[in-house]
């Protein structure tokens, strides 16, 4: 950070109380299979997967039940053996609770062997594989980014290879308060993570891997250092504790000093960022042929009776996970999927866990501390906290006046929705809500504009077609008229000739 920026207050981010312990220190508990699993077809960024099973069909654990469709998508596998009872709509793990398509599996307890059908074949020496083959196998295993965004990992690996990425950044920041699933994973599974990192290095062709871990996780740092000791190309880098350090752009800047250009991919700055959980999933997929069907999820919050990390199958209901984790002490003021700062509030607990679910937070009223907003006093706390260098108060002022284009012109597209601004706002203005609203309105306007364009084009095409038809008709009519005229002229000439002939004949007769 330059001296000017330091002096004039460009010190991004916030320092919320992390609430990671005691959940982070409790050993992982493995959740038994619930009776039913609800596996949504859209668990990743991009197009939903296409179901490959029929209702009533028996599936084995790890069997592929949905195929990727389109350029950006991911395969989905059965988290447990059982019978597909329905392929239909269930409430989405989203604040709206709107219906999404999901495969419902009645678990019958028959554990089939790993890697049946759907997953990639196990492999003892991944480094002998072609990098492109690693990407294919990762896609086969349905691995997506485990940090929350759930971008299909195979695509990231292959595009990194094409872009010639130099540095692989592994995100062990876990800057979100309350969450400790990555911390727990690094403590317990450091060798597998490092193995996955090395496989990803091979797949991307990057020279080195930098693992950024916030300094509030000394046990994870020690375990990862130990695991990476033998590998010179994997470096463990403790980083300052500051939210949102785990954001792709901020992490890349902190670790490499490179700034990802606005509107571009990290690969344009020569880096690619993967989560530690993704590294573990890649190692599992390549070494053992195991598809991504379960994950570590942190159950935490003041209303949770026994905070800790749970290894839960994808598709398990939040209610089941909470019940297994010890239940709730009190009615939660808010139930959150994801982290405190960026997670989504859930409409109820009957929504399933997905591949990108890092935490379930049952927050008490005291933790949420709801209060009605006051007017903005331009204190600029939000501007100081914004990690993107935006002026949230100015954007909010435009949005409050329904000037969404004005907000877009002031960096709405650069906003990463980290929530720092709303977290520090002394007037409690729900700034993230403002920005989400404006984005929605802009998207709707864009859709309306596209529709209008399409309509206009169709209308133009129609009038052009009608004009052409009319012209053709007129031409045809003219042609016919000309033909008729010619015919008439010919007939007339013939008649005249005839008349002349008959005249002649009469003359002859007369004569």
């Amino acid at each position: 950070m330059g001296l000017m920026e330091k002096c004039f207050g460009f010190s991004w981010g916030v320092h919320p109380a992390d609430h990671k312990r005691p959940a982070a220190d409790a050993p992982v508990r493995v959740m038994p299979m619930p009776e039913r699993l609800f596996v949504p077809l859209a668990q990743h960024l991009g197009a939903p997967a296409l179901p490959a099973v029929l209702a009533g069909q028996k599936v084995k654990k790890g069997e592929r039940i949905a195929n990727p469709q389109g350029a950006v998508s991911a395969a989905i596998h059965a988290p447990a053996a059982g019978v597909v009872t329905a392929i239909g709509e269930i409430p989405a793990p989203h604040p709206s609770g709107l219906p999404v398509l999901a495969v419902t599996i009645e678990v019958d307890g028959e554990e089939a062997c790993d890697g049946a059908d759907g997953g990639p074949p196990p492999c003892d020496d991944p480094f002998a594989l072609d990098p492109a083959e690693i990407g294919r196998r990762v896609a086969q295993a349905g691995v997506v980014g485990m940090g929350g965004a759930a971008f299909p990992s195979a695509l990231k690996l292959s595009s990194s290879k094409k872009a010639g990425v130099e540095t692989l950044i592994i995100n062990g920041g876990e800057c979100e308060p309350y969450l400790s699933c990555d911390d727990r994973l690094m403590r317990d599974e450091a060798p597998a993570i490092v193995d996955g990192i090395r496989i990803m290095l091979h797949a991307t062709g990057a020279r080195e891997a930098l693992v950024g871990i916030e300094r509030n996780k000394p046990e994870a740092i020690a375990a990862m250092r130990e695991a990476a000791r033998a590998h010179g190309d994997v470096t463990i880098r403790p980083i300052p504790v500051r939210y949102p350090m785990g954001s792709e752009k901020q992490l890349a800047l902190t670790l490499t000093g490179r700034e990802i250009p606005a509107g571009r991919l990290p690969a344009d700055a020569g880096v690619v960022v993967h989560n530690v959980g993704t590294a573990k999933a890649v190692s599992e997929a390549i070494r053992h042929g195991r598809p991504l069907i379960s994950r570590l999820v942190t159950v935490n919050g003041g209303a949770a009776r026994a905070p800790g990390n749970i290894l839960a199958p994808v598709g398990a209901l939040v209610a089941d996970v909470l019940a297994f984790a010890g239940g709730l002490k009190e009615e939660p003021a808010r139930l959150i999927m994801g982290g405190l700062m960026m997670g989504m509030s859930l409409p109820h607990a009957r929504v399933p866990l997905v591949k990108g679910t890092s935490g379930i937070l049952a927050l008490s009223a005291a933790e949420v501390d709801d209060r009605a907003p006051d007017p903005c006093i331009r204190c600029a706390s939000c501007a100081r906290a914004c990690p993107m260098g935006l002026l949230p108060l100015e954007m909010a002022r435009h949005i409050a006046a329904d000037d969404f284009a004005g907000a877009a012109g002031r960096g709405l597209k650069d906003c990463i929705a980290c929530g720092c601004c709303a977290y520090v706002c002394p007037s409690r203005i729900p700034l993230v809500q403002y920005f989400a609203h404006a984005r929605g309105r802009l998207a709707a306007e864009e859709r309306a504009r596209l529709r209008l364009d399409a309509t206009r084009k169709m209308a133009q095409a129609k009038s052009a077609r009608l004009a052409a038809e009319a012209r053709e008709k007129a031409e045809a009519a003219a042609r016919r008229k000309a033909e008729r005229a010619a015919a008439a002229a010919k007939a007339k000439a013939a008649a005249e000739a005839e008349a002349a002939a008959s005249e002649e004949a009469r003359a002859l007769v007369d004569a």
């Binding site: 950070m1 330059g2 002096c7 004039f8 207050g9 460009f10 919320p16 604040p95 308060p177 752009k249 800047l253 000093g257 490179r258 700034e259 250009p261 606005a262 700055a269 020569g270 209303a303 209610a319 019940a323 239940g327 709730l328 009615e331 939660p332 808010r334 139930l335 700062m341 960026m342 997670g343 509030s345 859930l346 409409p347 109820h348 607990a349 937070l361 927050l363 933790e367 501390d369 209060r371 006051d374 007017p375 903005c376 006093i377 331009r378 600029a380 706390s381 501007a383 993107m388 260098g389 002026l391 100015e394 929705a417 929530g419 709303a422 977290y423 002394p426 729900p430 993230v432 989400a436």
Partner: protein, 369 residues
């Protein structure tokens, strides 16, 4: 509790927790920082000063309440609790001559709250600092009352007016006796310069010439008498993070640097830096007025420019203009420039150049590395 039973009443946007800061806290801290200088002022100028202070604050609260009711606010009490109207009244009282009659405070509060703030839409919407707008309006409308200063008469001193007498003064029924009035240092310098005198001789010769007093035992408003206590309050605000250093530093530099240079060049025509620092509510302006959130720029750079501009304007008005003091005018002038300064001092957006274009792919930014 059964997790199945949970039903959210509504959807909530992230983040799902808050850092805990409150706007009212900042207002309270500013009031706390003003308290020592205010109490010292009461001691120095006696009960009339207290009465004027009280009337101004109560009037400010009254007008705020009335406006909120007129605008259909259902919970005016809650808004009053944010402390902003109280602070505006307090700051205005700090800039008035301590023995001014009550209606000065009343009218001032009306101008500050109704015309300076609520007409613009209430808290956070006003363009000009309400207290400064009121002070300037009063100064132009009632020049006599606004320039009648009393010599310090500590509360315990024998000639200090008693309770009842003070009430008479505050009610405007008794003017301060001539023997007690005194010119402020800036006013004296201005009138001496106006009649063509040399400042050095004027201050050296005249028995009546006001003296600089670091302690503040001299004529002036509550907000200018005690420089050390005002500075103390300002440092407290800096330390507690309520204000930041940019605007005060800019404003002090804006006054002191030109004052130092001009005095060094022509000591007979320009006051020295020390006189500027201790006079005319410069410290009040730098720490309490130029740091007002609502009417000043939002970035550190912008605030520094704001302070610097206000400081330079203050010095220009004091030294070259028609009024003896210029803090209020300078602040209002810079308030008007605030949107422009904000526009010119936007921070660089991550991944973009200062002009707002996306950075070149592959180039790493040295600026933030």
């Amino acid at each position: 509790m059964n997790p199945i039973a949970y039903q959210a009443g509504r959807t909530y946007a992230s983040p799902h927790a808050h850092g805990g800061g409150k706007g009212a806290r900042a207002m309270f801290f500013v009031q706390l920082a003003l308290a020592p200088a205010t109490l010292f002022g009461f001691w120095l100028y006696g009960w009339p000063a207290f009465f004027l202070w009280l009337v101004t604050i109560l009037s400010a609260l009254f007008f705020e309440f009335t406006c909120l009711r007129l605008m259909g606010n259902k919970t005016p009490g809650r808004v009053l609790c944010d402390g902003s109207a109280l602070l505006t009244g307090w700051l205005l009282a700090m800039t008035l001559p301590p023995w001014a009659p009550w209606w000065i405070g009343f009218i001032g509060a009306f101008i500050a709250i109704v015309i300076g703030k609520q007409v613009f839409g209430g808290l956070g919407q006003n363009v000009f600092n309400p207290a400064m707008a009121a002070r300037v309006a009063l100064l132009i409308s009632f020049p006599l009352q606004l320039t009648t200063w009393v010599a310090p008469l500590p509360l315990a001193a024998p000639p200090s007016p008693g309770w009842l007498e003070s009430l008479h003064i505050a009610l405007g029924q008794a003017a301060p006796p001539d023997a007690m009035t005194s010119a402020s240092l800036l006013g004296y310098a201005r009138s001496e310069l106006a009649r063509g005198a040399d400042l050095l001789q004027a201050f050296a010769a005249g028995q009546a010439a006001p003296r600089i007093s670091w302690l503040g035992v001299r004529a002036g408003s509550l907000g200018e008498s005690s420089a050390p206590l005002l500075a103390l309050g300002g440092l407290f605000l800096l330390a507690s993070g309520v204000i930041r250093w940019h605007a005060p530093a800019g404003m002090l530099a804006g006054v002191l640097v030109p004052a130092f240079i001009a005095h060094a060049a022509a000591p007979g025509a320009y006051l020295d830096a020390q006189a500027h620092l201790l006079s005319g509510a410069l410290l009040l302006g730098a720490f309490f007025i130029a740091t007002d959130y609502v009417t000043t720029p939002i970035t550190g750079a912008g605030r520094f420019i704001f302070g610097l501009g206000a400081g330079i304007m203050t010095w220009i008005i004091r030294s070259l203009g028609g009024y003896p003091e210029g803090v209020a005018f300078a602040i209002l002038f810079m308030n008007a420039l605030t949107p422009l300064i904000d526009r010119c001092t936007r921070p660089r957006v991550f991944g973009r150049t200062r002009a707002g274009e996306a950075l070149e792919a592959g180039a790493s930014s040295g600026e933030s590395a």
